[in-house]
Amino acid sequence: MAAPELLNLGFEFVEIFAFIVLATVGLAVIFGMMGIINLAHGEFILVGAYATSFAVAAGLPLAVAMAVGVVATAAFGLVLERFIIRRLYGRLLDSMVVTWGISLVMIQLTRIAFGNTAPGVGIPFGQLPVVDGPVYYLVLAVIAVGVLGGLYALFTWTDFGVRARATMQDEETARSMGVDTDRMYMATFAIGSGLAGLTGALYAPVMTVTPEYGTSFLVESFVAVVVGGSSVLLGTILASGFLGTVNAAFTNLAGTFMGQVAMLVAAIVAIRLMPDGITGLLSDLREKWGESE
């Protein structure tokens, strides 16, 4: 009797969880690793979506078009890092203001260059059998988990990951040990940009791509980064899980809008109780336990 409802709730959760993870991950990598709050994050997503839309319109298969979106955004991020972002390392507030300026410019340039909508992209894979929703959302969830796993592997197990983390922790020492820190910053920023592009590409089939497309990801991504705290991957997972649960439960009870409102209220309460985010609280707890032993 309650089984279909439970399935619906589960599906809702999976959909929202995937959305928050994918919306956040590019921002979280750049913020967590480099301390840059990229307010143009939404517009990086926009680049990925537009590149994908136009590649599909040009006749490329969807998967290839999405790859084009990722590569285009990573390249775009690389150029921006070289010319602008690199001057702002260590200037947190300035970096926010500048990236906001970039965001304004990009939204308007997109509107001038491409008009108010991009060519549409169809949703692949068809509908689910029991629950009311496309199979594609499940694919998105799998990709979201895959991205998190991939990032974990990249930053913990590879030589590049170790060098990148060394650069972010102590640039001077890393450089004296022979790490090309300049390249590490560049590469990390490009990875973050590429992830934003991936998000834009993945959601191009399910959301109308307009110049304001990126803005629809902003609230979720910023809220999740703040709730998650400074430890990037774990924070993203925990925050997405927490916010996704609240959102899915209330969406099921009272509709999409109330789900959104409940999630934001939960986020504000969470920030009030844990100003350093979930991972900040965890590391506090760990310290406390460490002391009492």
Partner: protein
Amino acid sequence: MSVGSSDGPLAGLRRPFEGPNTMGNTPGFWLGFVVAVAVLAALPVLFGYYAAEIGAVFLAYALLGVSLAFIWGYCGILSFGQVVFFGVGGYAFGVVAINVPTLTGATLGLLAAIAVSTCFAAALGYFMFYGGVRNVYVTILTLVVALVLYTFMGQTAGGEWAIGDARLGGFNGMSGVPDLGIGIGSTGLEIGIVAHYYVTLGALVATYLGLRALVNSHFGYAMVATREDESRTEMFGYNTTFIKFAAFTIGGAIAGLSGVLFTTQNNYIDPSVFGITAAALPVVWASVGGRTSLLGTVGAALAIQFLDYQLALSGSEWALVIIGSLLVFVVLVMPEGVAPRLRDIVVDYRSSEPTPADAPAGTEEVSD
């Protein structure tokens, strides 16, 4: 204070507004200030009714910019959500004034709007500062609040979203907001277009002078100390949390007032005031003009909005591109903003000249 160089007869009058926390502590500066205010006051006379209508909007924006420069430049709190209080003030005025149609409504509306936006800022400030939220997280939270209000007000199109006779109207906005007025019943002063311009100018000048006095007071020193080094200031026994909370609340009240002046000028407000573009504008004005200079922010707000208006008139779509690029350029090239840079140039020029107080230098400083 080096005011002693040429104490005029008005030195006593100037003293409360001068100190190390503001630029322009010379008679030349004040002369220029008076001239600038006089020019602004003459605009409706010179260019007529239409100039007053447009100009009042620019001045209301300038007031909004001042509210951000005050908390960001002097207390180090970068709020991306000043438009929240601006919009909340505007909507609150609309709700009250539409429901109480006489002059009583306009008067009550003004008081209610300032009260509501002040309380809203106090509540948000309490939540953030007493909760230990700091730096970028404050910035992100304020932006999120603005975006949430944008979404929320956008879905209020249905008839059930009405407070008394005032329909919130969703993305179509709330129309039919009465003019500003002071009085009870039908006796009192109704403030028309030209009068509204002067009220807005008066509010801006009064706020500017008030904030100058405030930042040069004991509280202002404590604000600047908090900005410079919060933990050290706390060690000296200051309650920095309260200082930030109070500054943020004052900023919210000013933004609310500017929202009322904006809304009563247009007789209309819609959710786009909470949108990401609108939210960016105060940050652009303060960054370009120089956040540590209240007057620089006013100048930048007037100049940028005038440019924006001219571009819109000529049918150009490039305004936001230019504004955004200007922001990036200024932060990269002169992170402090234009006014502090100009001041440095003036100071360098003066110290290289043997006669310090010559007239041209004085007027140059006015553009600060």
